[in-house]
């Protein structure tokens, strides 16, 4: 239980940090920022890699989680990068 209290502490602090980080963002950057944050939520890939268990069901669930999280990560970062390249001054 002590572990959960510690992790709950980390959770709360990160939430406050997240709220503070996005205070003043120019509206041109709303969509790229959303896309960039979306790529970060692909961190679920780390969770998918930590899955355990034997048997076909567990392997299939892990494979699915890894597959979809990877699509999220790769697609998310590449798309964000493409979007940001639009903002470069010609």
């Amino acid at each position: 239980m002590e572990m959960y209290i510690l992790l709950g502490f980390v959770l709360l602090l990160s939430i406050f940090l997240g709220l503070e980080l996005i205070a003043k963002v120019p509206s041109t950057l709303h969509t790229p920022l959303m896309s960039g944050a979306n790529a970060i939520s692909g961190i679920a890939l780390v969770g998918a890699l930590m899955l355990s268990g034997d048997g076909q069901t567990q392997n299939l669930l892990a494979f699915g989680a890894i597959l979809f999280a990877s699509i999220n990560v790769f697609g998310g970062y590449l798309v964000t990068n493409r979007m940001l390249s639009m903002f470069k001054k010609k």
Binding site: M3, Y4, L7, G8, V10, L11, S14, L17, G18, L19, I22, A23, S27, T28, L29, H30, T31, P32, L33, M34, G36, A37, N38, A39, I40, S41, G42, I43, A44, L45, V46, G47, A48, L49, M50, L51, S52, T57, Q58, L61, A62, G64, A65, I66, L67, F68, A69, S70, I71, N72, V73, F74, G75, G76, Y77, V79, R82, L84, M86, F87
Partner: protein
């Protein structure tokens, strides 16, 4: 579970490092000059967190290699090939896949033996948020790419909405299932029912919302997928999942509020009232309507205008119009 608690010290140190990089990355993404660099930083953070996790794998490495390779290939192919104007709906689709991943993670954890009451509750919450994010994002994708034309008022929409409201008490039931199944009759395969109900509920959550409000909804769903990842982190006792997940959850929520404000709307108005009734309502909140016009009409109106306010957005950047606008602006 026991193997997860002894993640080596090195792994945790790297997790701290990548958490810091994620924070810096998001911060830099919020400024035009540093945005590209910020994206690279957060990609570096992602890479190091994933790489160090690979040091202690429990499932067959073939499953992992196959999943990452295939997923990376599909994701990259979509990202490179997609048309610039179609990117917002692609973000919705990717976000949905992230939600699906947390949904599957929680499902897999449900199948492991000896979950405590607290872990059981976490599993159900993660399934619910992940599932809503997945099916909701699919609808958002369908609406933006104009594949789904269902709107408010259609009977299908109304049925889906009822499922959404049905899912809320169902969520409460499954969270407390271990403790109340001694009192109430327990449903043997309730978990599978709940998985299905969650997915339908996600459809009901987004379907009544109009296509024009989709960017705000996608931002909200993005925030939800972050929260789901943070819950999955609590479930798996993983620091970096919690930090990155709740960063996305919180910043996504703020971004949603900012985007809604930029449209002169509130989030409650967008989610539960809808566009059609928003224009009818009167009150202190200013309401407006977007009026598309042709170039000639715009010229006539602008020629006679005494003052013009230009609000740049993603559309302007896609059209590469921002530099032209800036040059013209400098002439006045």
């Amino acid at each position: 579970m026991e193997s997860i608690t002894n993640i080596s010290a090195i792994q945790n140190l790297v997790y701290i490092g990548s958490s810091v990089l994620f924070i810096l990355g998001i911060k830099m993404l919020g400024k035009e000059a540093t945005a590209v660099k910020g994206n690279y930083l957060s990609a570096l953070a992602m890479f190091s967190a994933v790489a160090i996790t690979c040091l202690s794998l429990e499932i067959d490495y073939k499953v992992i290699v196959a999943g990452v390779l295939l997923g990376g290939l599909i994701g990259s192919a979509i990202a490179i090939k997609v048309k610039m104007t179609a990117i917002p709906e692609m973000v919705a689709l990717f976000n949905g896949f992230g939600g699906l991943a947390t949904f599957l993670i929680a499902w897999s954890q449900f199948n492991t033996p000896d979950n405590s009451v607290f872990q059981h509750a976490l599993i159900m919450l993660t399934v619910y948020i992940g599932g809503i994010t997945f099916s909701g994002s699919l609808v958002a994708y369908g609406k933006l790419s104009e594949r789904i034309k269902l709107g408010k008022g259609s009977w299908v929409t109304n049925v889906l909405i009822s499922f959404f409201y049905l899912s809320l008490p169902a969520l409460v039931y499954v969270i407390f299932e271990p403790s109340i199944s001694t009192v109430l009759p327990s449903v043997p395969s309730y978990f599978l029912f709940f998985l299905g109900l969650t997915l339908i509920a996600g459809l009901g959550f987004v379907t009544p919302i109009g296509g024009g409000d989709m960017p705000v909804v996608i931002s909200l769903l993005n925030s939800l997928s972050g929260i789901a990842a943070a819950f999955a982190g609590l479930l798996l006792l993983n620091n970096v999942l919690i930090v990155a997940g709740s960063l996305v959850g919180a910043s996504g929520l703020i971004l949603t509020v900012i985007m809604a404000k930029a449209m002169n709307r509130t989030i409650g108005n967008i989610l539960f009232v809808g566009y059609a009734s928003a224009t009818q309502s009167s009150g202190k909140v200013e309401q407006g309507e977007v009026k598309p016009i042709s170039a000639e009409d715009a010229y006539l109106i602008l020629e006679n205008a005494s003052s013009v306010l230009i609000v740049p957005g993603y559309g302007m950047a896609v059209a590469q119009a921002q530099h032209v606008v800036r040059e013209k602006w400098a002439n006045y």
